[in-house]
């Protein structure tokens, strides 16, 4: 058997990747992305009163671009049983459109 070492060569230049359309939910979309969309933000503020102030903890703020609402629940940073209801409303929003590179 011949085993050949794989190679991971560098690419040539950076062109921003194209982005697909994005739907909203509590599991795969970051908290920051939800808050950046006015309609999604309105849903969160309605369903989770006071959430904005609760997310201002300095140690939490850097992670809100990575954490979903579900992640916050998993890590104990948010206590709520409203995620299913929030999801139903978020999914009714029109997705963010795709963009070319």
């Amino acid at each position: 058997m011949i085993i050949t070492a794989p190679l991971y060569p560098a690419a040539s230049t950076y062109v921003p990747p194209s982005m697909s359309a994005m739907s909203f939910d509590t599991r795969t979309v970051s908290v920051n992305d939800l808050f950046a969309h006015p309609e999604a933000k309105a849903i969160l503020l309605k369903e989770l009163p006071g959430i904005e102030s609760r997310l201002k903890t300095p140690q939490l703020v850097p992670h809100l671009s990575n954490f979903s609402l579900q992640d916050l629940v998993n890590f104990g940073a948010l206590q709520t049983d409203r995620l299913a209801e929030i999801d139903a409303q978020l999914r009714a929003l029109p997705p963010l459109p795709a963009s070319a590179s």
């Binding site: 058997m1 011949i2 085993i3 050949t4 070492a5 794989p6 190679l7 991971y8 060569p9 560098a10 690419a11 040539s12 230049t13 950076y14 062109v15 921003p16 990747p17 194209s18 982005m19 697909s20 994005m22 599991r27 795969t28 979309v29 970051s30 850097p62 992670h63 671009s65 990575n66 954490f67 979903s68 992640d71 998993n74 890590f75 104990g76 963010l96 590179s101």
Partner: protein
């Protein structure tokens, strides 16, 4: 809680006299030979530095009197040294409740410190070069030679080299000065302060020489019984009339393969090795990679480094294989510190950590979240420990206000480059990680940074995949173009966080890994951080999923800082399930192995899950009335292999049995007190309630009617004696060598008393000095370098550094009311 400074006074008074004054003993003044350097590569430059803690503006002046400064040998970390004048209980030893780092740095203190060293370089002709390399200085450093500024390093985990030649006085007196600053809130964990890794000096007399980090070697192919090794050697002052000779030597010195080429600027050679001794975790065979630059028979330069012949392949269909053999990663995340020694990267301490983890079945380490020390990597090579080298914990968005994010945009390339160049010939290194839990990584700016970093790594080393530790969501779906994508991935739909990664590291991703695999079946995944409690689930996931390479538990060993993230505790029933870590907690308390190297209960459970042990037994510490137990996500229940509970006679205690069997039985003093059938739903863990009575508790595990293992816990009696155990001897007289001595509190039958917390003082004579003494107690703030400490769970650890001269080291230990113990260790020349 009684603090350790109080113990110190009590113990000293009880012991009568101590061989050492309080505090760490100072290094002897270096010899003339240790100050003088002749031509040669990789000369140790650690001995005889003058050190002063505090701010200054002109300590780089060559004429500055420094005779009254402390003289010490590197590695050194002042953040684990006692701060004089402190007042208990707010300030104890190196710990200060007002520390700017707080729980992040384990309440230790940073500040500023200066190092100076006088030295002589002989025999450096015109055209030669003298170059110094600091392998690690935390956090930021500036270096001067003879008053001239050589440079600044803002990322203390990365090696930094400086050319001394322009300002060097050949044959005369030279003074090198280093200012080190650890200022503000700059880290989420204990970084340490000072020149905490080795310093090396190259004195190369010839104008033609091998370039810094100028050798790259990798295995290109394995074909039956033949290996092809590619070696690239960069030459400064190249001259085709010179010759580059590259050899691979076996451990016995015999040449296994050789190539000779004219010394052009970049020499590419291929060496054929027949019947190669391959490197792998189970057989870490190493060759010496010897590179010579010659003029005729005269050797102008020679560089020897370890090298392993191995090929690592990774894909979603087959997972990871090393030399064609499938390997699942049983990994540990660890920080860089060596517990009681702080950040100091002693060879023996780094190696000890690796051996402790290897003993527990780990085959991989993620150097989180920064490049490891050279001594650590070399030990990984020697012992077959796979290693993920990680560059950053942050890019351009801060996690702490004074962290490297402030300099990242301007200075990211230097540490990334030095990480790869320093470690690309280590066979243990299997992947490069460009970051951990990077904020904003999935934004358009973050995606571009991801490409920049991954691409820079690929340009430096195209033989290893790039990864990152990813928490949370993976971001929008994206598609990269031909000129931007990694090889073979142009036009494929991926996600913002993973599009430029060859292997995706999921931090705490157990709930989403299989879902993501279904959506992106070509993605190679490993669990880059995991909770200890999920070990069984990750093992099963890895077994059924070729694309899943394995897991890295957070954390393999306890470490300083991130205090209390693995906390457990008793809280009022119905209270919110949370305990806020605070002073005096100073260590993370989340490791499988504790701060001094002993197994914790999660490690015993892992022993069973990973097949190292057929059965383990533990008993939960009884809960007080009205209390329930809180356990953090990174923690473990307060359970110990202990059947000595004098205050719980008649109470039902929770007994946990870990086994791969299908049934367990418990007997107490020979009588059956419970049994349980187990299925896969139990995940190898059974809990039975047993009314406590002193005696012998035995757990027996069965598969069908066959006994596969049994373990006993016996009630011990009162503390009776101390027991000292040297971990390794004999030793050679090396100023870098360490001697680890375990201190146990035992009963009359020589059994460790599992809850013993006893003050112990030690007396040391002979050619060694105390550099660490303490326990695994995460709340034991106080000196880490005094000759007195308190045991925790019946144990403590004493660490001595040899003085470099032969002789006999004698250590005596005493504790009021206990029979003392003593050990002697002969130190050879």
């Amino acid at each position: 809680m009684q603090d350790r400074r109080t113990f110190l006074a009590l113990a000293a008074s009880a012991a009568g006299t101590l061989a050492l004054p309080l505090g760490i003993a100072e290094a002897a003044t270096p010899s003339a030979a240790e100050r003088a350097f002749r031509p040669g590569r990789d000369q140790n430059f650690d001995i005889g530095w003058h050190f002063r803690r505090g701010e200054a503006s002109d300590f780089e002046r060559p004429a500055l009197p420094d005779d009254d400064w402390r003289i010490l040998n590197l590695p050194h970390d002042w953040s684990v040294e006692d701060v004089p004048g402190g007042e208990a209980p707010r300030q104890l030893g190196p710990f200060d409740k007002r520390s700017k780092g707080g729980t992040d740095t384990g309440y230790t203190q940073g500040g500023e410190g200066w190092y100076r060293k006088r030295f002589v370089v002989r025999d450096l002709p015109t055209g030669g070069i003298a170059r110094i390399t600091f392998e690690g200085v935390n956090v930021a450093s500036d270096v001067w030679l003879n008053g001239r500024h050589l440079g600044t390093n803002l990322y203390g985990y990365a090696p930094a080299s400086y050319d001394l030649t322009p300002y060097l006085v050949v044959g005369g007196a030279n003074v090198i000065a280093v200012r080190v600053r650890n200022i503000g809130q700059n880290s989420r964990w204990y970084a340490g302060s000072g020149i905490y890794r080795s310093v090396r000096l190259d004195v190369l007399p010839h104008a033609a020489r091998i370039a810094p980090a100028g050798i790259t070697a990798s295995t290109r192919s394995l074909d039956g019984n033949v290996a092809q090794v590619d070696v690239r050697t960069e030459i400064e002052g190249a001259d085709p009339s010179l010759t580059v000779i590259t050899r691979l030597r076996l451990a016995d010195g015999k040449i296994a393969g050789e190539a000779k080429s004219p010394a052009i600027a970049a020499v590419s050679q291929q060496i054929t090795i027949r019947s190669p001794a391959l490197w792998s975790p189970s057989s870490p065979n190493l060759y010496a990679l010897e590179s010579e630059l010659r003029r005729g028979a005269t050797v102008l330069d020679r560089w020897i480094q370890p090298f392993g012949i191995r090929i690592v392949t990774i894909d979603a269909e087959h997972g990871m294989a090393i030399n064609g053999t499938p390997v699942k990663l049983r990994g540990a995340c660890i920080h860089h510190d060596n517990g009681l020694l702080g950040a100091c990267a002693f060879v023996d301490a780094d190696e000890r950590r690796i051996l402790k983890l290897k003993e527990r079945g780990f085959n991989a380490i993620r150097s989180s979240h920064n490049p490891s020390s050279r001594s650590f990597r070399d030990a990984c090579d020697r012992h077959g420990m796979l290693l993920i080298e990680e560059a950053f914990d942050m890019w351009n968005v801060a996690k702490r206000k004074d962290d490297f994010s402030n300099q990242f945009a301007e200075h990211w390339r230097e540490p990334l480059t030095s990480m790869v160049l320093a470690a690309r010939n280590n066979p243990s290194v299997i992947m490069w990680s460009i970051g951990n839990e990077i904020p904003d990584r999935a934004t358009p700016i973050g995606v571009e940074w991801s490409w920049k970093l991954a691409n820079a790594v690929h340009a430096l080393d195209p033989t290893r995949p790039v990864t990152a530790g990813l928490n949370g969501v993976m971001g929008r779906e994206v598609t990269a173009s031909t000129q931007t994508a990694r090889a073979g991935w142009a036009g494929r739909t991926d996600q913002a966080s993973t599009v430029f990664l060859d292997v995706a590291g999921y931090n705490y991703g157990l709930p989403i890994i299989e879902h993501d695999h279904a959506a992106y079946p070509q993605r190679v995944i490993y669990a880059s951080e995991t909770f200890p409690r999920d070990a069984y689930d990750y093992l099963m996931l890895a077994k059924r999923s070729p694309y899943m390479l394995g897991e890295f538990v957070w954390a393999g060993m306890d470490y300083l800082g991130e205090a209390g993230i693995g906390l457990n505790g008793q809280i009022a029933k119905g209270a919110p399930p949370f305990v806020i870590p605070q002073f005096p907690l100073f260590n993370a308390n989340c490791g499988d192995i504790d701060l001094i190297g002993n197994q914790k209960p999660q490690s015993r459970a892992r022993d069973v899950i990973w097949g190292l042990s057929p059965i383990e037994i533990a008993v939960q510490t009884p809960l007080a009335d009205g209390k329930s137990e809180y356990v953090s996500l990174w923690g473990w229940s307060d359970e110990t292999p202990n059947w000595t509970w004098p205050n719980a006679v008649g109470r039902s205690l929770a007994v946990r049995v870990y086994t791969a069997g299908d049934r367990v039985e418990l007997t107490l003093n020979g009588k059956n007190v419970g049994s349980k059938s187990m299925t896969s739903a139990d995940k190898m863990r059974a809990e039975l309630m047993v009314p406590y009575a002193p005696g012998v508790l035995e757990a027996i595990a069965y598969v069908g009617s066959r006994v596969i293992g049994r373990q006993r816990l016996k009630t011990v009696s009162a503390p009776s004696s101390l027991r000292l155990t040297t971990e390794r001897s004999p030793l050679r007289a090396d100023k870098h060598a360490l001697l680890h001595i375990g201190v146990d509190v035992t009963d009359a039958e020589n059994r460790i008393v599992p809850d013993a917390a006893r003050p112990v003082s030690v007396a040391i004579s002979g050619p060694a000095v105390l550099v660490g003494f303490g326990s695994a107690n995460p709340r034991a703030v106080g000196s880490l370098q005094a000759p007195a400490a308190q045991t925790f769970n019946g144990k403590a650890l004493l660490i001595l550094r040899l003085s470099g001269t032969p002789g006999v080291v004698r250590v005596g230990a005493s504790s009021d009311g206990l029979r003392g113990d003593a050990v002697t260790v002969r130190i050879k020349t």
